[in-house]
């Protein structure tokens, strides 16, 4: 049986972070940047697409300057709604603007071992095991490659990661670690095998691509070519900007949004020019640099604001959004991790970002922690409950019950209480025990999260992939 998926839907909370005039100004500024400053597309294939559609291409600098109408017309061809398919159709994820789905974070390079507690380099086995735990968790709706399979050859690493993912989950898989045309071609073949053929893959994309831009105002050659291969096959493709105030973007938040927006919408437009109607999505994880080191922070009020603002932009362009939330800069699952991951996730959820990336990583998406993964799921669960808001009707106003209890009584023995008590949130990892019980045991959320992760890993068996399919996937990887 596939595990249920907990997605936020029919929200009762809302937030206005940018006015329609603000959005229009950001859009106009973005088009001006694309038209006059340009964006670097260092791939002959991408440059040919631009040139064929009348953009101004400088073949020496690889910078494209495209008029606003070309970008706007291209973006209009992008489908506003489509579905990320899962190996098990019961776990399909409609990107319809009325759902928030959480994925695993990626792509870490180290892992805190679940049994030895040692921090070590990540390997293929870790990808498989993390995905297996993610398959169990109902808060996790889809898989991002959580850590890098560094024991696999660099040329086919991204493919081994995909194989490990499909072998351990029936949920949708989104890769953020394929960035060459060669690997992309093999990944399409693999996805087609899982979906049951090229045409079925187009209708039911069991794979999607998240790709990074190169801020400021640039793209990566391998990434562009991989995106074109995926888009041609009908695999949804998203471009993620990680513009950082002060280093790769202006220090001001609006300026940051403009730079990142120019990167993302120019890339999405290029895909639409090449393959009109191809499913695409907006992706973002903007931040502000650490003022002392220039480094990536992984959280802060700027990040939280970006988390809400990006969805307004994605809505303006009428494409789904994948938003970076969680991904704390903390070194351990601690106070900082709790604050950063709660606020970033709340802000991204309250505006109904379609996809959230994601649970499980520490130190700015570099170190995997199973404990953090499970605590992140609990953070999401809190937000999930908050998004239901406060329902006001006769039943919830509960006047009859208030009358029945009257001054000085209590509500424990009321049927109304028993009827509604399960609407109240129950924590997995919050410590609500009596003080003395805590004092005697001195254990906490980390211990409980670790125990739960071990239990899932040791007992959960996802619907296996047909061994013949596995062998075929292996063959494709070897031929790549």
């Amino acid at each position: 049986m596939p595990r249920p998926i907990k997605s936020i839907t029919n929200p009762r909370l809302a937030l206005q972070i940018l006015s329609p005039e603000d959005v229009q100004r950001i859009h106009t500024a973005t088009l001006e940047v694309i038209e006059t400053v340009g964006v670097r597309f260092p791939s002959p294939k991408a440059l040919e697409v631009w040139e064929a559609h009348g953009a101004q291409v400088d073949w020496n600098t690889k910078i494209v300057r495209a008029p606003g109408h070309l970008i706007e017309d291209a973006l209009k061809k992008a489908p506003p709604v489509y579905t990320l398919a899962a190996r098990d159709p019961a776990q399909d994820l409609p990107l319809d603007g009325n759902h928030v789905y959480v994925g695993t974070d990626g792509c870490g390079v180290q892992i805190i071992d679940l049994y030895t507690h040692e921090r070590r380099r990540s390997a293929l086995k870790d990808v498989a095991e993390i995905v297996r735990v993610a398959d169990y968790l109902e808060e996790v709706a889809f898989i991002w490659v959580p850590v890098s399979a560094q024991d696999c050859p660099p040329e086919t690493r991204g493919l081994y990661e995909l194989k490990a993912a499909w072998e351990n989950t029936t949920k949708h898989v989104q890769t953020e670690s394929i960035y060459s045309e060669r690997e992309a071609r093999a990944s399409v073949e693999m996805a087609a095998l899982i979906a049951g053929g090229r045409e079925k893959l187009r209708r039911r994309p069991v794979l999607s691509y998240a790709l990074c831009t190169v801020p400021p105002l640039g793209q990566d050659p391998g990434t562009l070519e991989a995106a074109l291969v995926a888009a041609e096959a009908g695999i949804p493709v998203g471009f993620m900007t990680m513009t950082s105030c002060g280093t790769t973007a202006p220090a001001t938040l609006a300026g940051n949004l403009v730079v990142g927006n120019a990167e993302v919408i120019s890339a999405l437009a290029m895909i639409q020019l090449a393959y009109p109607g191809a499913p695409v999505f907006y992706a973002a994880a903007q931040t502000a640099m650490d003022l002392r080191t220039g480094g990536y922070t992984g959280g802060g009020p700027e990040d939280f604001l970006f988390g809400a603002a990006s969805n307004v932009l994605a809505d303006f362009y009428n494409v789904p959004l994948s938003m970076g939330s969680f991904a704390t800069g903390a070194k351990e699952p601690n106070w900082q991790a709790g604050i950063e991951n709660s606020l970033s996730t709340f802000m991204a959820c309250v505006v109904m970002s379609d996809m959230l990336l994601g649970v499980g990583l520490l130190h700015g998406s570099r170190i995997w922690s199973y404990e953090q993964m499970l605590m992140d799921c609990e953070i999401y669960d809190i937000v999930y409950h908050m998004m239901k808001g406060i329902v006001v009707d006769d039943e919830t106003l509960a006047l009859d019950v208030i009358r029945a209890v009257g001054p000085g009584g209590n509500f424990l023995a009321q049927k109304h209480t028993r009827k509604h008590m399960r609407d109240l949130w129950v924590p997995k990892f919050m410590d609500r025990r009596p003080y003395e019980e805590w004092e005697a045991k001195r254990d906490d959320a980390r211990d409980w999260a670790r125990a739960m992760a071990r239990q899932i890993l040791e007992t959960h068996q996802p619907e296996p992939l047909d061994p013949q399919l596995s062998a075929e996937l292996e063959r494709i990887i070897h031929a790549a």
Binding site: P42, R121, T247, L291, R292, G294, G364
Partner: protein
């Protein structure tokens, strides 16, 4: 008069104003001031002040970078004059730096290059996507003390090892120190591939470089 000029030079560094710094450098040459003295008594105190304020948490990375830009502008004016007079600017050492082949990530590497240059090193920045042989050839050409390599991807990180091996094959490894950095790079990785230095950020990289050259 000279004191006033020196003070203005320091201030141009603190303000991070390359145009003013270059102007003051030209004025010093016109006034017949020893260009080495202009650097050491005029501009360097500005760099020291900025470094000190940074240490106290009063100034931030952009202050350091702007100071670095101003310093570069001043040195660009003064260095030819030093050479004309038959002298040479003292540096802590020569660094060849770049992002490895297959990787086009620029910012971290450029920041390290700037900080090293502000910190007193002569820096040759080879840019991004730098082939192995280019690292080796440039290191040989400029008689580098340090080769620095950046990588942002786990798939390109392995090139750092290739460059170290190429330096060995070229017979240069024994007299060149190797520093590595980049988001996926860890101290364990640096040790595994036999690099001499590793830092998580640009400020730390300067201390590491200083230790490496002083250790000889």
């Amino acid at each position: 008069m000279t004191d006033e000029l020196f003070r203005a030079m320091a201030q141009s560094i603190i303000d991070g104003d390359p145009d003013v710094a270059a102007d003051l450098a030209r004025k010093a040459i016109e006034a017949g001031i020893d260009p080495l003295e202009a650097i050491n008594k005029g501009f360097v105190p500005g760099v020291d002040y900025v470094g000190e304020q940074y240490g106290k948490g009063e100034m931030f990375l952009p202050d350091l970078v702007l100071a670095g830009e101003a310093m570069k502008a001043a040195i660009a004016v003064l260095e030819p004059e030093i050479a004309r007079q038959g002298g040479q600017r003292q540096t802590l050492g020569t660094v060849v730096i770049g992002t490895v082949e297959g990787d086009i990530h620029d910012i971290g590497k450029t920041l390290v290059a700037t900080m090293l240059s502000v910190g007193g090193f002569r820096v040759y920045d080879l840019g991004v996507d730098v082939p192995i042989t280019t690292f080796v050839e440039k290191a040989r050409e400029v008689n580098a003390d340090i080769v620095g390599m950046s990588a942002l991807l786990t798939t390109t990180m392995v090139r750092q090892r290739d460059v170290i091996e190429a330096l060995e094959d070229a017979g240069l490894r024994s007299r060149i120190k190797v520093m590595v950095g980049g988001a996926p790079v860890t101290r364990a990785w640096a040790q595994e591939i036999g690099a001499d230095g590793y830092s998580e950020d640009a400020i730390g990289a300067v201390s590491v470089a200083k230790q490496l050259v002083s250790a000889g």
